[in-house]
Amino acid sequence: MNAEVIHPQTTPTLAMIRTLGLIAAICGLIIVSAYQGTFDAVQENKRIAVERAVFKVIPGARSIGEYLALPDGRVEKAGAGGAVPAGAVKFYAGYDDAGSLAGIAAEGSAKGYADNVRILFAYDQATSSITAFGVVAMRETPGIGDKILVDKDFLANFPLEAKVAADLKALANAIVTVKHGTRTKPWEIDAISGATITSRAVGKAINDAAQILLPRIGPNLDKLKEKS
């Protein structure tokens, strides 16, 4: 009987590296092809989704311009690719058929009951108020959290006053969600009874975005008035 110990065959290192390199190359090729192949379709889908959302909150809009409000107070057109530099806020200007400004729309997000609630709100510079909002994405409880879309009293909160403070650094009054039935000021949002968490998320989302964005809109209004 053969008493030798039979050693298990280990793969030599060079062969291993060569094979792993080959596999990495194959996988890399597959990923890059998929990415390039779907890039245009994905961008188009995103564009359509944004357009649909903005047209919904700014009823008079027929076309959109994408802008970035930079930390230094300037406003410039957003480049392709959608990269947002640190501290800048992306917003959309809606233009009517004649090409003049119909309203400004921006995204905000805040934690709701299940996950983040992403909303798009519309701002009318003439009346310094937030006229409407729409939900971009949310995972709130059906029948409870999603009442923010249909509840008449909640929708009656808008238009919401959003005046900018005299020093142009923030809003004159922070937008805040208050308990159902206790709304006294035009910048407060009356929560839906039984759906407080989601209502608060809407208020926080609007406030967080508006505090940074709205003070930067006023001084740059001329740039935005006509579609460029």
Binding site: T10, T11, A15, M16, T19, L20, L22, I23, A24, I26, C27, I30, I31, A34, Y35, G37, T38, A41, V42, N45, K46, A49, D115, A137, R139, T141, P142, G143, I144
Partner: protein
């Protein structure tokens, strides 16, 4: 009489059926639970996740089987994971290109397909030891079984929790939806109920077999 060879051979049919009934990933092996419970709040979501997982299963098992003689056994698990991650990335972009709404609904669980134990398990236990056609057939069967499981969960939760099936309202406007069914606890309860049902059926079959054996 020789067995018909090729795609429709008895062997391949057996491989296909294994995943659908005997070793159903959701009801028998109880694997891949995370996406199974998280996205099945509606029938269409369950179906989409099932199709996406099937695609990743078939492609990964196919590639693993093609490369099975080359992959060094010391790093085979890591290699399988890289291959699976590749196809999951592909699926991720394809879904974005097809429908952003579906992509938002399925959320992070598309990318979590990569840690679905079913796929890694199949690659390790089966694809690495069989030819590509056999491996892909088995993977396809597993995927179908997984999709059936997801559909079973999603449809029940949608019917009870929203009163609709694939978006079509079944009970009219006066139906009071059993909202908890589309919330996390509902997922646990519905899957538990299905497992209870299958367990009861299995025990009944076992009892009948023992009775038949005793009477024989």
């Amino acid at each position: 009489m020789s067995q018909p060879s090729g795609i429709l051979s008895a062997r391949n049919w057996d491989e296909l059926m294994e995943g659908i009934w005997r070793q159903n990933p959701v009801f028998v092996m109880v694997l891949g639970m995370c996406p199974a419970l998280a996205v099945t709040v509606s029938g269409i979501n369950g179906l989409s996740m099932g199709i996406a997982t099937t695609f990743v299963l078939v492609c990964s098992c196919g590639l693993v089987s093609l490369l099975r003689k080359l992959i060094p056994k010391e790093v085979r698990i890591a290699t399988y994971i890289v291959i699976i991650a590749t196809f999951v990335t592909v699926v991720d972009y394809v879904i974005q290109a097809v429908s952003l709404a579906l992509y938002d609904a399925l959320g992070a669980f598309i990318q979590l397909i990569v840690v679905n134990c079913v796929i890694l398990g199949r690659a390790e236990a089966h694809a690495s030891k069989n030819t590509p056609v056999v491996a892909m057939t088995n993977a396809f069967g597993m995927g179908i079984g997984f999709t059936i499981g997801l559909l079973a969960l999603g449809c029940v939760r949608e019917i009870l929790g929203a009163g609709t099936l694939f978006g079509v309202s079944l009970f009219g406007a006066n139906f009071q939806p059993w909202v908890v069914m589309v919330l996390p606890p509902g997922g646990f309860f519905v899957l538990g109920a299905w497992l209870l049902l299958f367990s009861a059926l299995a025990r009944r079959k076992q009892r009948k077999l023992t009775e038949a054996a005793q009477n024989a």
